[in-house]
């Protein structure tokens, strides 16, 4: 398998607090990597480092691309869209097209937008204003916009978290389908262990300052313990001690720990 993304010993410190500690992994073409972990574990921060929106104190990210310049597609966790935003979905997708210096769109550009909207099952929404779409429809349109620049790597930050279970499943299966048809690397952050189990080839489990990565089946082996770790039923003070305890166990037996 061909590597498309290499994350090499990333360290990020915010206000003296170490958010990401020496993280290294790689993603292959046609592979889906799931990221799980409790809130505040640094999952979003890791994606932003990969995108270049945050410069890490140490470490580097290398992307191998067939294009001249590596391209990344990113669907952020939160997106402020005014319900009255008058722009229609077709225009919204076309915003993501590359070559932004040319003020107009070529016929090729237009075809590409329509093709991507078919691929993501949003073509029937093309004329509707983005603010009037349902949550699931919006996520598909965001995904289409990210695809408009033909990314080598696609990063999805909890893009299904606010959807109903059915929409979550169909969105994730769409992403899985894109991963195979476009043969690109995909990283998706999710709180839904069931979806990660079903679609992620490998899983990265993060807690504050620690992580493990491995085949999804292996990471998911102790599902009970995992869900405790992801949604701890404890007060804030005890979370850290539980995290420490779990991390200690992780350290003892899992594949790779820092």
């Amino acid at each position: 398998m061909l590597k498309t993304l290499d994350v090499d010993h990333i360290n990020v410190i915010f206000n003296g607090e170490r958010i990401l500690k020496d993280i290294s992994f790689s993603v292959h073409k046609g592979e889906m990597l799931g990221i799980i972990g409790p809130n505040g574990a640094g999952k979003s921060t890791l994606l932003k480092v990969i995108l270049g929106l945050i410069t890490p104190q140490e470490g580097k990210v290398v992307i191998k691309s067939t294009n001249k310049k590596p391209v990344m597609g990113y669907v952020p966790q939160s997106r402020l869209i005014d319900a009255d935003m008058p722009i229609r979905a077709w225009d919204f997708v076309s915003l993501g097209l590359p070559n932004m210096i040319r003020p107009w769109l070529t016929g090729k550009d237009r075809k590409k937008v329509s093709k991507i909207m078919q691929e993501t099952d949003t073509i029937h929404l093309a004329k509707k204003p983005i603010g009037k779409l349902s949550g699931g429809e919006k996520q598909r349109v965001y995904l289409a916009q990210a695809l408009a620049r033909d990314p080598d790597v696609l990063l999805l930050d909890e893009s299904t978290s606010n959807l109903d279970p059915e929409a979550q499943e169909s969105m994730t299966s769409l992403v899985h389908h894109l991963c195979e048809s476009r043969h690109i690397g995909i990283i998706f952050i999710s709180h839904d262990l069931h979806l990660v189990k079903k679609y992620a080839h490998r899983t990265l489990h993060m807690t504050r300052g620690h992580y493990i990565i491995g085949k999804t089946e292996e990471i998911m082996k102790d599902e009970k313990e995992l869900s405790l770790c992801l949604h701890p039923p404890y007060s804030d003070e005890s979370i850290t001690s539980v995290d420490q305890q779990i991390n200690q166990e992780i350290k003892d037996e899992r594949i790779r720990t820092y």
Partner: protein
């Protein structure tokens, strides 16, 4: 009315100002900057008064004050500025300063009305040339940055995610907007520049969901308002800005009514289709 030089001047300058305000208005609306443009025009008023006090060309004072404040707002971040209190404090401060400069300059009593309410007769050949040149520069900037600006205005999170230099775009837009405001104040007056920057665009957004369509419609509404305003003002001697606001308001309400009617019609049609 075109036998007079001053009316020719007003129409040429007004055409350029109207089209630019209409086009930029779509982005002002999408970026939520209408009150900042309002504040810029008041800062412009005090700049123009300052220029008169110093014996300069009013445009120099306008440009100086608005661009400096545009860059200052860009530096501080638009968010701070959106707080009501900050806006009212700065608005009134600059209005007050403008009044002080006018009082100190102690001449041209009708200058205050001209700069606050706009004027048909006040536009010289020199003004026209300045306005045309500034408009063409702004138009070129708009064309070159069109796709980037569109992305950042209509989907800021997406633009940031795509790696666009969002902070630079934000400051750059405020800078360009401040120049446009300075230019427009001379024709429509400081009090109502923001009407021309926001109302045509708000009317257009009810009629189309294509960004380019909005720009065309907004410019058209703005242009009709300015042309009609100039003509009616010539005939009746009432300030231009009054007519411009009336006409733009009419466009806005017609657009609202049109949208409501169209929505009801499509609902009825789908209802009937379902019940056949």
């Amino acid at each position: 009315m075109f036998q007079y030089d001053f009316m020719q001047h007003a129409f040429i300058a007004g055409t350029f100002v109207a089209v630019m305000c209409g086009a930029f208005g779509v982005f002002v609306m999408a970026r939520g900057l209408s009150f900042i443009s309002h504040t810029f025009s008041h800062i412009g008023f005090s700049g123009a008064s300052f220029a008169v006090f110093m014996g300069w060309d009013p445009l120099t004072g306008l440009l100086l004050f608005t661009t400096v404040s545009g860059l200052a707002v860009g530096q501080m971040g638009v968010k701070i500025f959106r707080r009501d209190a900050a806006v009212s404090v700065i608005l009134s401060l600059f209005l007050g300063l403008g009044i002080l400069f006018l009082f100190l300059s102690n001449k041209q009593t009708n200058f205050a009305t001209t700069i606050l309410f706009g004027s048909v007769v006040g536009i010289s050949r020199q003004n026209v040339i300045e306005i045309v040149i500034i408009s063409l520069i702004l138009l070129i900037v708009l064309i070159l940055s069109y796709r980037v600006l569109k992305f950042d205005s209509f989907d800021p999170a997406g633009a940031h995610a795509a790696g666009l230099p969002v902070r630079f775009i934000s400051i750059g837009f405020l800078f360009v907007l401040s120049i446009l405001v300075a230019e427009a104040v001379q024709i429509v007056g400081a009090l109502l520049v923001f009407a021309l920057l926001t109302v045509p665009a708000s009317a257009a957004r009810h009629l189309t969901h294509s960004v380019f369509g909005m720009i065309l419609l907004s410019s058209l509404f703005s242009l009709i308002g300015v042309w009609a305003g100039l003509s009616l003002s010539y005939i009746t001697n009432v300030p231009v800005s009054f007519y411009i606001t009336i006409i733009e308001a009419i466009f806005y309400f017609l657009a609202l009514i049109w949208q409501t009617v169209r929505l009801r019609w499509t609902k009825e049609r789908t209802y009937r289709a379902k019940n056949i």
